[in-house]
């Protein structure tokens, strides 16, 4: 058989797609639908689902509010400091999540200055929902910053200059010119951050075993009751993640229109 470049490209792409799709299909077909429905009524699973959805939403909200100004500065600044700041932002992406968890424990865990002070005022930063949010924000927020930075860089500075010269303040310019143009890119970053946050396991288990998020619940189910009992929760997590991605993708396709 003659090999042309098109068929080589198709073969390589198909192989990678299969690597993604086959495990997902295997997971879905391994659980009878009845079993899935039973699991969905399990209060422990439902609580974990609620915790994951809530904490991931809050984490992404925080990442967006704090991340967009930083991303904008990174996109526009000419400072030499920019390279250093970008390296710091990317750091959580390259760290193993468990190492991230260890680092966060060092700063916010029991025995640390901040951790002990937080316990004294009744807001523990570990073994709490706040701890989950901390862990998720730490590992997921760089996705917002890095992607939004790239999106802001696609906005021609002259458009912002034009808006200012037309009598509009920085804030109005950001609302009506910069954000709408950079919007699809920013939403892509938010989507990635949400996906990363809802699947976060390594750092979360170090900081907050309780309240259990879905990845932690899957781990607990796997350890205590075996792989088959972990399947339904995994499928539930898969459905939530896929649903969230679809919602955000739809929004990102045509924002503000």
């Amino acid at each position: 058989m003659k090999l042309d470049s098109a068929s080589v490209i198709m073969t390589l792409g198909t192989a990678l797609l299969a690597l993604y799709a086959i495990p997902v299909l295997a997971l879905v077909v391994s659980v009878p639908s009845g079993e899935l429905l039973i699991q969905l009524t399990d209060p422990v699973v439902l609580r974990a689902a609620r915790t994951s959805l809530f904490s991931a939403s809050v984490s992404v909200f925080i990442a967006t509010v704090f991340g967009l100004p930083l991303a904008y500065w990174l996109a526009r600044a000419n400072s030499r400091l920019k390279t250093v700041v970008l390296a710091v932002v990317v750091f959580p992406l390259v760290l193993p999540p468990t190492v991230s968890g260890m680092m966060l424990l060092t700063v916010f865990g029991p025995g640390s200055l901040v951790g002990d002070a937080a316990i004294v005022v009744g807001i523990p930063l570990t073994r709490s929902l706040l701890g989950v949010i901390f862990a998720q924000t730490f590992v997921a927020s760089p996705f917002v910053v890095v992607t939004a930075k790239a999106a802001f860089e696609t906005v021609d500075v002259r458009l912002e200059d034009a808006s200012r010269s037309l009598g509009k303040s920085r804030l109005v310019t950001a609302q009506r010119v910069t954000l709408p143009i950079a919007g699809p890119g920013i939403l892509a970053g938010i989507t990635l951050a949400f996906a990363r946050a809802i699947g976060e396991f390594g750092a979360t288990i170090m900081i907050s075993f309780y309240p259990r998020t879905m990845p932690v619940q899957i781990w607990v189910a796997f350890l205590s009751q075996g792989l088959e009992n972990a399947y339904p929760v995994a499928i539930l997590l898969l459905l939530i993640a896929a649903g969230a991605l679809m919602v955000l993708h739809t929004a990102a396709t045509n924002p503000w229109s």
Binding site: L159, D161, S163, S165, I181
Partner: protein, 351 residues
């Protein structure tokens, strides 16, 4: 209202602009210079998009230096238009308009009414620039700053927009600064022209003065004046200095020259040609020569003529009617006619 630039300076990335001192009344001041000369930087300083390194900018006596761009009421038309791509033409104009009815009035004035519901990416180059202008005018600016608004447009569209701008500037009656690197546009629109090079103002004057009396060889070269020659003052007559260029002597109207080694410049548009031996008027230098090449430029010919008496080549613009009447072709014998007053003498050479 007067726009005043007082010792305006800007230094960045090794480039220095200024000090620039200019007073612009309700007129069109064309800022002409090569790329990288500081023209756009000057507009950005006035608009408040860039901050001054020194000096002051005033409009109607009010100092603008501490004001944000949005508080200056300077209308700026950016190079390539800078329309907001996510908005329609109507939304772009309305973005800047103080009153909604102004959108339609301006759309009509700039002939873009039919385009109001289209997105910028669907517009042609000329349409795009007209919409950008309409959007800027929607703010009812106190002064108008235009940064090469006709660049990279086809010549017929440029000509049409030039005529439109000419009428519009007359109506506006506000200070207009028009930045361009195109001599033709500057001459067509500017009441006065500022020649800027490497951050420094080289000359300010009327279009005629810039063309016929360039202050130095750079300006002469930049205004397509190829006829600048080293000369020395050989004699004086009642009319003025007599210059010697090689074997050629040229009468001029130049008076009171500070030095004898000078540069003689005569713009190609201020020289005529005739048939060999044709009678000449008084105070006109007549040199016989031979046409060595010619280039038809649509409205006129640009011909180059070697002078018989000296190794000199003159560039001359010739109207097509004259070109045809003299039946010119390469190697034709001609007479070059240089009126005394067409010779501009620059004392810029070391003595």
């Amino acid at each position: 209202m007067t726009l005043e630039l007082i010792e305006v300076r800007k230094a960045f990335d090794g480039f220095e602009l200024g000090p620039v001192d200019l007073n612009i009344d309700n007129e069109v001041l064309a800022i002409l210079g090569p790329s990288g000369s500081g023209k756009t930087t000057l507009l950005r300083l006035i608009a408040g998009i860039s901050s001054l390194s020194g000096g002051a900018i005033r409009l109607g006596g009010r100092t603008l230096d501490s004001l944000s761009p949005e508080d200056r009421n300077m209308g700026m038309v950016f190079q390539d238009g800078a329309l907001f791509p996510h908005m329609t033409v109507r939304q772009n104009i309305a973005y800047a308009a103080a009153a909604p009815d102004r959108v339609l009035a301006l759309a009509e004035r700039l002939e873009v009414t039919a385009l109001l519901d289209r997105k910028p990416k669907t517009l042609s180059g000329g349409e795009y620039r007209r919409v950008a202008l309409a959007r800027t005018l929607a703010t009812e600016p106190s002064a108008l700053l235009l940064d090469e608004p006709l660049s990279s447009l086809d010549r017929p569209i440029q000509t049409r927009l030039l005529e439109m701008l000419h009428l519009l500037f007359d109506e506006l009656d506000i200070p207009v600064l028009y930045v361009t690197h195109d001599q033709r546009t500057a001459m067509a629109l500017g009441n006065r022209i500022v020649i800027i090079n490497d951050g420094v103002i080289e000359q300010i004057g009327s279009p005629t003065a810039i063309i016929s009396r360039p202050r130095n060889r750079f300006i002469a070269h930049f205004t397509s004046n190829e006829n600048c020659f080293d000369a020395h003052v050989a004699d004086w007559t009642d009319a003025g200095a007599v210059l010697q260029i090689g074997e050629v002597r040229l009468g001029t109207t130049a008076q009171q020259l500070q030095q004898t080694q000078v540069t003689a410049c005569m713009h190609p548009s201020r020289i005529a040609i005739s048939a060999p031996g044709a009678p000449t008027a008084e105070r006109v230098n007549a040199l016989s020569g031979r046409l060595i090449r010619h280039l038809f430029q649509g409205n006129e010919y640009r011909v180059h003529i070697d002078i018989d008496a000296a190794p000199l080549t003159f560039a001359v613009t010739v109207h097509p009617i004259v070109f045809d009447r003299l039946s010119l072709e390469n190697r034709s014998a001609v007479q070059v006619l240089i009126p005394f007053e067409s010779i501009h003498v620059i004392s810029d050479r070391p003595a």
